[in-house]
């Protein structure tokens, strides 16, 4: 595989052919904000936070799904991108009911952290206050749809790491929702193996271990990383 040389934020970076801009940037220590991206599962480019500017390309490109090319000139942190990222975050906060003070993931939440990093001190849009329910039928885990940002990380780990295929998306647009099997209570699912990978993958407080209360839901992603590394790279590092 040939190496490609490109420039990210003025810094010369080399990356393997087939690597994404996100890979190349993180190798070079440049942090691009992401939300739907999760190490170990394929990328879908849906959260639009990792959009970057590439000189000569009119459109903004998602860094998680765009492959590097020779001589590419990437800008990850322009004023325009910061503005769009903040708006994206505001839209997410207004969409469902994200109340940090009562959330299991308070202080351990990727959405909260990103909002803080982007200086999101208030939301300019009307809160939608939708009435989403909570699924507490599973003996070990719970799902609060009010905190879901539909990143589908749980769906992807369920299908592609665990291979159970329990989680899926139903509905359309703002009415999209994460479902279990044929839209039945999680606890009644025939396919769920109770592996908990979806809970590990969740960036917000939507999926949680039962019994955790405010700020207690700390996720350890090393388990996912371990499985994927073992499977794909045959590296059994604990």
């Amino acid at each position: 595989m040939a190496a490609k040389t490109l420039t990210i934020d003025g810094k010369e970076v080399s990356a393997q052919e087939g690597a994404t801009i996100l890979d190349a940037a993180s190798d070079a220590g440049i942090k691009i904000p992401t939300l739907c991206h999760l190490e170990g599962v394929y990328d879908i480019g849906s959260c639009r936070l990792c959009l970057v500017e590439v000189t000569g390309v009119a459109k903004l490109l998602p860094s998680c799904t765009t492959h590097v090319s020779e001589g590419m000139d990437v800008h990850t942190d322009s004023e325009r991108l910061r503005k769009y990222r903040r708006m994206t975050l505001e839209l997410l906060f207004a969409e469902r009911n994200h109340v940090c003070s009562v959330c299991v993931s308070n202080n351990n939440c990727e959405l909260q952290a990103l909002a803080w990093q982007h200086g999101m001190d208030h939301v300019r849009y009307d809160y939608c206050f939708p009435k989403w329910g909570m699924d507490a039928t599973h003996p070990l885990f719970g799902m609060d749809h009010n905190r879901c940002i539909l990143c589908t990380r749980c769906v992807r780990v369920c299908w592609h790491i665990e291979g159970a295929g329990t989680k899926n998306v139903a509905g359309r647009g703002a009415k999209s929702t994460i479902i279990d099997d044929l839209h039945q209570p999680w606890g009644e699912s025939d396919t769920c193996t109770s592996c908990g990978k979806c809970v590990i993958a969740c960036p917000t407080g939507a999926l949680f271990s039962r019994g955790s209360t405010v700020g207690e839901m700390v996720r350890d992603r090393s388990t996912l990383e371990f499985i994927v590394n073992a499977r794909e790279k045959k590296q059994w590092i604990v």
Partner: protein
Amino acid sequence: MDLDDLNTIAEKERAFHKKTVIRCCTAAGCMSSHADAVKAGLEKAVRDTGLGDRVEVRGVGCMRLCCQGPLVGVEPGGILYEKVTPEDAPSLVASTEGAPTKVARGNPDHPFFRKQMSIVLANSGEIDPERIESYIEAEGYRGLNTVLLEMAPKDAVDCVIKSGLRGRGGAGYPTGLKWATVAKTPAAQKYVVCNADEGDPGAFMDRSVLESDPHSVLEGMAIAGYAVGASQGFIYVRAEYPLAIKRLQTAIRQAKQIGLLGSGIFESPFNFNIDIRIGAGAYVCGEETALMASIEGKRGTPRPRPPFPAESGLWGCPTLINNVETLANIPPIIRKGADWYAAIGTGKSKGTKVFALAGKIANTGLIEVPMGTPLRQIVEEMGGGAPDGAKIKAVQTGGPSGGCIPAHELDTPVDYESLTRLGSIMGSGGMIVMDESTRMPEVARYFMEFCMDESCGKCVPCRAGTVQMHRLLDKIVQREATAGDLSTLEELCDMVRNTSLCGLGQNAPNPVVSTLRFFRDEYLELLRKEPNGEPAVTAGAAPAQNKEAS
């Protein structure tokens, strides 16, 4: 099956025709006003009067002037009858023998008909869409024969490139270039997909083509298959078009029966099969990557491009996706040559375009005009202007992804570039005419509601952004918005356009942006005023910290 067989079928079909032909429209528009009963009535009247050896009743496709349906045409004489009822049938049949009839007659010399130029719709309203013999009589499958026996795949691609045909689905990508890309991508398996998921409000061109002339699409797909090296085709058609689906199924069955689809077509080594996939009602499935996901049996959501379908499409194989109208243009291009086609239209937009005229216009229906025809000619001359002498205010093209073209820009020629310059798009061909009673912010709100409901929910800007834009538009229409709300809306339009994943989100702000560009006053008028008459800057009822004054 060879060329002689085709000619034999055509001759037999010709011999079968009677002196007088009564054509009865059996496309969905007229069917909804009981054209099937009219046709049955006509057939019965012919039987009852014993005129069977002189008069033939033929169910045909769309006869274009949908608002006056059911339409019946009588040849010779070029007579067009409008709003025919089953009770009119005996009198109509008697009139072919010279008896007077009181059935309302249309004017076939009206500019609505006279100014049309039929390539895609050449057979529409003429042939029986449910009989392959009728299509073969009208030069059908001759293009496929020519391509398979006389042309190398590369020649077929070159012919389409030379014709200058551009995609009729909306974006206007050069069709020949797309074909060439798929043809050049090496793969053991390739696919041809016909996008028949026409979903724009007010658009019904593709439906009419499928209902009126399904074989032209099949022939176009087979030619495309040969040119790019594919042996399997899929037609993705929405479930809301049951008649189109039925006629496609009939057409595919008939073509297979006489060996025009299947293995060794025209005794060449070329095999091609076509299957139908029926959409489940999601607008976004008209987007090519979502469409392919749906064909594969997955949730119909778009994915980032590249890779483009031409490199990696259905099940990872190179896939050619063309719209119905694009494919229906192929057989005539092959038959009559690329130069003939390239001579029609304007510099960068060749050929003709079918438009569905709807809204506040006298003549609602289907028209096909050369590219570059001024909008005014389409709307005022052919369409007859707004009914009851009202003044036309704007023409909406391109559906929820398009924009409103104001009346003072009506002299714009209809081609891809001119419409883009005005902030609209050619789109698939829906043309909704609005008169002075239409309020533009309400139009924008309607289209935003459509996009909000049809967003697949995958990417954040489209899923959540359309919700907020719709809220703001609703607030404006309800006269509760401030100047700050308007600038928040404009900021969101910019953000959703630039950050959304697929065309649905990227173009969702278009109706707002284009109405703001040409009808900004209407928005400003609706903004809440302070007691001193100045536009309100701060919000009233809602907590102030939720708003940002600009």
